[in-house]
């Protein structure tokens, strides 16, 4: 795994662990209710998987590279585990079934947001460095 993405993998896996633990402790797994896990994943896992993605994620934003990042593999592993289907199940179908977007979607948006905010910044600190 690329060193940059590795930094995001740790909080990502930690979030996945916390969700699994929460689901187990509240016996949500016994009565089904996978939508709870899926909803929690959107809230906790995806932000964790975006850690620093504005910088390192640009290599994974091309069309057709939606699943080339190791973090995407971890994301899909979580979703497939939640649904209880085998790991070879089609990725796009699993994402749609779970109501999730690929991580690439969030990375791309955050990269563009970073670009916009760099243009529009009015921070005094950043202005101090400017000779003009």
């Amino acid at each position: 795994m690329a060193k940059s993405a590795e930094h995001a993998a740790r909080p990502f896996l930690a979030s996945a662990y916390r969700i699994r633990k929460f689901v187990r402790e509240h016996a949500l797994a016994d009565i089904g209710r996978p939508h709870t896990s899926l909803w929690l994943a959107k809230t906790y896992i995806i932000p964790a998987g975006m850690y620093g993605s504005q910088v390192w994620g640009t290599g994974f934003l091309q069309a057709g590279r939606e699943f080339s990042s190791p973090l995407s593999t971890l994301h899909l592993h979580f979703l497939k585990g939640t649904l209880g289907v085998k790991q070879s199940t089609t990725n796009w179908a699993v994402l749609r079934e779970c109501g999730h977007e690929p991580l690439q979607f969030y990375w791309f948006r955050s990269a563009v947001k970073l670009f916009n905010s760099m243009l529009n910044t009015n921070s005094d600190t950043s202005a101090e460095g400017s000779p003009g």
Binding site: A29, D30, I31, G32, R33, P34, H35, L38, V55, T58, G59, L61, Q62, A63, E66, L83, G84, V85, K86, Q87, S88, T89, T90, W92, A93, V94, R96, E97, C98, G99, H100, E101, P102, Q104, F105, F108, R109, A111, V112, K113, F115, N116, M118, L119, N120, T121, N122, S123, S126, A127, E128, G129, S130, G132
Partner: protein, 238 residues
């Protein structure tokens, strides 16, 4: 000009020398977006990209995989995405900003095993012949449950509506009220369909309001079918 803006400008100047710099990579990622030229120009001239339009455009690009599958008929092509899209998937909202809806079974208090079986069935992660043919020695997709000699492909629709196995027919008879509003040919005397049905009709049937009863039927049926095929080797990752 702020420091950050100068950094962006410097990175922009670097893009001609190195394809690994941030701006060069960002510019290459706009491929496939409807407003590609606008976004590239915005980056090159240092103008902000409107987020709402960009997000809708990005979602449109990602849905391209589903637009491609619309041209494929799951009855004639063994394509998992086309099967899922034509028969099972919840339609996308016309409003691009709306999140993707999840199927209703994920909100029901079903047992873990029923939930898993429904998921497997919908995502073609099951042991029906159409899927098992890929890893079975004979590689045949023909249904081995039908009593007749006709070689029908044993896919999801065949199993739900067409297969003439007597146990499945008994289940269909028991839950006939699920089928009769959708299929005129269906009756207690003939609890199966004789020919392939329209994909849209199948999709409507699977999304019907009587879905709770349908899950009961489906879970019973999946149990029966998987029990039948449980002696066969299943994928290592199942």
């Amino acid at each position: 000009m702020t420091l950050l803006r100068r950094v962006v400008q410097a990175d922009l100047n670097l893009q001609h020398r190195s394809s690994a710099c941030w701006t060069a990579q960002l510019l290459s990622t706009f491929q496939g977006l409807c407003g590609r030229e606008f976004y590239v120009q915005a980056v090159q001239t240092g103008r902000a990209i409107p987020m709402q339009e960009f997000t809708a455009d990005l979602k449109h690009r990602m849905k391209g995989v589903w637009r491609d599958t619309e041209l494929v008929d799951p009855n004639t092509h063994n394509n998992k995405l086309a099967t899922y899209h034509s028969w099972f998937a919840i339609p996308f909202s016309k409003n691009e900003r709306m999140p993707i809806n999840v199927p209703r079974y994920l909100h029901l208090d079903l047992s873990k095993h029923v939930m898993r079986n429904i998921g497997r069935f919908r995502l073609r992660a099951h042991t029906l012949k159409v899927e098992a043919a890929a890893w079975l020695e004979d590689g045949s997709c023909a249904c081995d449950q039908c009593p007749g000699e006709d070689e029908n492909v044993q896919n999801e629709v065949h199993a739900l509506l067409i297969c003439q196995d007597y146990r499945v027919c008994e289940l269909r008879k028991h839950f006939s009220f699920l089928f009769t509003p959708f299929f005129e040919d269906f009756s207690a005397a003939q609890p199966f369909l004789l020919q392939q049905v329209n994909n849209q009709l199948v999709h409507d049937f699977l999304l019907s309001r009587t879905i709770d009863f349908f899950f009961l039927f489906l879970s019973l049926w999946i149990y029966l079918w998987l029990a039948e095929t449980s002696q066969q080797p299943i994928s290592q990752t199942t």
